[in-house]
């Protein structure tokens, strides 16, 4: 018998093999297309530069508030890191679960004589890096701008980097612990119900937290400090000493302001917790991995304790048992083929069988993939919470300028939310379908028709969400029927355009090797889709706002200017959406498109 490796040696072997793979993947990306590599490098550089400039401008602007600048910057940083921590927690849970229980490498390693601590530590570290890179990407320009504004010494930057790395370990350990608990105790249905409850609670908390307080002109003029203090009191939760984000913010700000003892204290608190939780995760939690992994593959539903659920399952089992070769009254039982209610509903809409088949399949996969609808509900739920809270802006809604500004900002926010979803879920659709080319691609309908069906399905489905939010926003802003109709039309055009961008670029830049949608999106095509969608949204909202038929000043603009702006908006939408979609249809009709290169 060969001697088993120690946990540390096993970990190093895994790190080396995976590091080599990652390095080669990076090299292959550059070698395959210099243009792609150059575009990616340019995008990263441009993002860094623009983000730094914006953060720098913003921080300088806030710092100029007499007597309050530093305080407001401090609160903003506490708030920002608290929100980012919540997002990090969510992404770590999702990624840790996939990495530990839906990952082929983890299953492969489970059959080898590698100590479970090595496998667990490696997968958790990998998951934490995957979940945290966007966080680092986001805060790096902010910290650089903060450093410039505060004129910090050079050692601030490496110190901040260490703190961010230590901070990322805490959500990583939390994500691993939650993933183990979910795997051990919850099946898919229970997890979906739990996710819905968590999302509902988050939306309710956000809706409550976003509620505003009424402030009079007199208060603003005579008691500005008291008003600001009241506003800032709502942000105190982000400064709770129990929050790791507070330790990070306090340490970074302390170092930036030269308060090195404070910075060191909070830095050590952060380090102590990171190391303790990391160690706990990699020892105690690692031991729970085999049982949790085994539970994922065979577990009764927690709902089985309820009588009605047991009766329903028994009935289903009996019916299925008949199909599995049972004999009833000496005759072979007829197979149990339940009615497909979704298909019946789609038939009423007059759709063809192949169209119904794709729509029903996509709808079922969407519902059964908790991450997809969970993120959709979360994003649009938070937006709905914000819009509902607009009614509290009672004073501002009396001013035409503010009503116009908020209505166009709402249009932009709604479109930005949609762009996140189309990039995340619509863009990878073709790549995933391309892998199943034998099924849809070789069917008489062909890939081109499949792409068309996907585009229309995604567009009409998301249209219900975006138009619903637009009508809600218009109603709360008391815009009147004509204006609501105007925004509904704009939202509809933007919804179709954003879906066209995602569908089109998904076909033009497919990744037929990858099975995980998240990894498909993180490639060049997905990044381009997100950037193009954002650029389109900004351009469209600016064009529409500049040519607003209701004007910004006392007099409305000339009707021809408004019509010109609308025409420009439509042209822009056609250019951004129709063109990639048209190219995609042409490409999908060509033979060999799904060939894996």
């Amino acid at each position: 018998m060969n001697a088993p490796r120690s946990a540390w040696e096993g970990f190093l072997l895994l790190a080396r093999a995976n590091g080599l793979c990652a390095w080669r993947r990076l090299g292959a990306m550059g070698g395959r297309s210099r243009l792609t590599a150059l575009a990616t490098a340019l995008f990263v550089a441009a993002y860094g530069l623009i983000a730094f400039s914006l953060f720098h401008l913003g921080l300088r602007f806030v710092m100029r508030f007499p007597g309050l600048g530093s305080l407001m910057v401090e609160r903003l940083l506490f708030l920002l890191f608290a929100f980012l921590m919540v997002l990090l927690l969510l992404s770590n849970v999702v990624i840790a679960y996939g990495n530990l229980f839906r990952n082929r490498e983890a299953a492969f390693l489970a059959s080898l004589p590698v100590p479970v601590e090595a496998v667990f530590t490696w997968k958790v570290l990998e998951g934490t890096i995957l979940a945290s890179w966007a966080f680092v990407f986001l805060v790096a320009p902010l910290l650089a701008a903060y450093g410039v504004v505060q004129r910090v010494p050079w050692h601030f930057y490496p110190f901040a980097l260490v703190l961010v790395a230590l901070f990322s370990a805490i959500p990583g350990a939390f994500g691993a612990a939650t993933a183990i608990a979910v795997a051990r105790h919850l099946d898919r249905k229970a997890f979906q119900v739990g996710t819905l409850v968590v999302v509902a609670v988050l939306v309710a908390v956000a809706a409550r937290g976003l509620r505003t307080e009424e402030i009079t002109d007199e208060q603003l003029e005579a008691r500005a400090l008291a008003v600001v203090d009241r506003l800032l009191s709502n942000t105190r939760a982000a400064q709770s000493p129990w929050l790791p984000s507070q330790w990070l913010s306090a340490s970074i700000q302390g170092w930036g302001e030269g308060a090195l003892r404070t910075a060191a204290f909070y830095g050590l608190v952060l380090a102590a917790h990171s190391l303790f939780l990391g160690r706990l995760a990699c020892s105690y939690l690692a031991g729970a991995l085999p049982a949790a992994a085994s539970a994922v593959h065979g577990r009764a539903s927690p709902m089985a304790r309820w009588q009605w659920f047991r009766r329903r399952e028994e009935r289903r089992r009996n019916l299925a048992g008949a199909w599995a070769g049972g004999v009833v009254d000496g005759q072979p039982a007829r197979p149990w083929l339940p009615r497909d209610h979704l298909d019946m509903a789609l038939r009423w809409a007059g759709l063809r069988p192949e169209t119904r088949a794709i729509i029903a399949k996509d709808a079922r996969m969407f519902w059964r993939d908790t991450t997809q609808w969970g993120q959709t509900v979360l994003l649009f739920g938070l937006l709905a919470g914000y819009i509902i809270n607009l009614r509290h802006f009672s004073r501002q809604l009396d001013s035409g300028f503010w009503v116009s500004l908020v209505s166009y900002l709402n249009l932009g926010a709604c479109a930005l939310n949609l762009a996140t979803l189309t990039t995340r879920f619509v863009f990878p659709q073709f790549s995933l379908e391309g892998r199943r080319v034998w099924l849809i691609g070789l069917a008489p309908m062909g890939l081109q028709r499949a792409v068309q069906v996907k585009f229309w399905t995604a567009s009409w489905t998301t249209l219900a969400l975006t138009v619903g939010l637009t009508v809600l926003s218009g109603g709360i802003l008391r815009l009147g029927p004509a204006r609501i109709l105007y925004f509904v039309a704009a939202t509809a055009v933007m919804t179709f355009t954003l879906n066209a961008i995602a569908t089109g670029l998904g076909v033009l830049f497919p990744n037929l090797r990858e099975t995980q949608p998240a990894k498909i999106v993180s490639g060049f095509g997905g990044t381009l889709c997100l950037v193009l969608s954002f650029v389109y949204i900004v351009a469209a909202v600016v064009v529409l706002a500049l040519g607003s038929p209701w004007g910004w000043r006392e007099e409305p603009p000339h009707p021809s200017a408004a019509a010109g702006a609308w025409l420009l908006f439509v042209l822009l939408s056609v250019l951004a959406g129709w063109l990639p979609l048209r190219l995609a249809f042409v490409r999908a009709s060509r033979p060999g498109i799904t060939e894996v290169r």
Partner: protein, 253 residues
């Protein structure tokens, strides 16, 4: 060498493996046959330690998979039907990696590879990334890497998938040689011809239970058939189906 003692595994309310007791001796080639969803892969996954039995014990090389997983896996090699390979490594790097995970030193890895690489005709592909290899070549890489550490127990699920007749022959020959040298093989397949040709003993799993086991001639005797093993397999599984009709209380006629 492989011992299953009243092993059961439930997936929710479904009994995937229902009280299997089986011992595979050292140096024995054991093939397991069964219809789809019979419980073969679940049994194999429990032997490989990927899932834990709800009841009973699984021991490999005398070590319980639950209480002594590392010691049990150290004498085991497992190749699933769709093996995982690191796409961006080369076959040589992958061989080295798996050898190191089993605690082999460089010299032992080289010696093992010098034997296996030519036999599996991998020399041409040895230093090319795995993501460019065909399905059959990947399968050969997976089998070679599993055999590299000279396991005492070799567990393989559908080994012939994707292999051409020539390489299927190579795999059969190597497994037979190793068995003659004392390795235990537990092979799951749908191809009754493979079982007939290779196995010292064949087991038939149906609806989670080991419904028959023995040499091919013993199975024929049990089924009352002769000729190819396929006829015995069909008779036994069909007999099981009609002998235990599961008339559903709520089933429709």
């Amino acid at each position: 060498m492989i011992e299953l003692e009243r092993v059961a595994k439930h997936f929710g309310d479904v009994r995937a493996v229902d009280g299997i007791t089986l011992t595979v001796r050292p140096g024995e080639f054991f093939c397991v046959l069964g219809p789809n969803a019979a419980g073969k892969t679940t049994t194999i996954k429990m032997i490989a330690g990927l899932i834990r039995p709800d009841h009973g014990h699984v021991r490999v090389g005398g070590f319980d998979l639950v209480t002594h997983p590392i010691k049990a896996r150290a004498c085991l090699a497992y190749v699933p039907d769709f093996p995982f390979l690191y796409e961006k490594l080369t076959p040589w790097e992958f061989l080295r990696f798996t050898g190191q995970l089993f605690g082999m030193d460089d010299e032992a890895i080289r010696t093992g590879a010098e034997d296996l690489v030519p036999r599996f005709h991998l020399a041409e592909w040895l230093h090319k990334p795995i993501d460019g290899l065909s399905h059959g070549t990947r399968q050969r890489v997976a089998i070679a890497s599993a055999l590299l550490h000279d396991p005492k127990v070799f567990v393989i699920d559908e080994p012939m998938v994707g292999l051409d007749p020539h390489h299927a022959r190579v795999v059969k020959d190597i497994l037979r040689e190793r068995v003659d040298r004392g390795m235990t093989v537990f092979l799951s397949t749908h191809q009754t011809s493979v079982a007939e040709e290779m196995a010292d003993r064949v087991g038939i799993i149906h609806r989670g239970r080991l419904v028959a086991e023995g040499t091919p001639s013993e199975l024929h005797a049990q089924a009352g058939t002769n000729g190819a093993l396929e006829s015995a397999f069909l008779a036994i599984t069909d007999g099981e189906r009609t002998a235990t009709p599961e008339t559903p209380p709520g089933g429709r006629a």
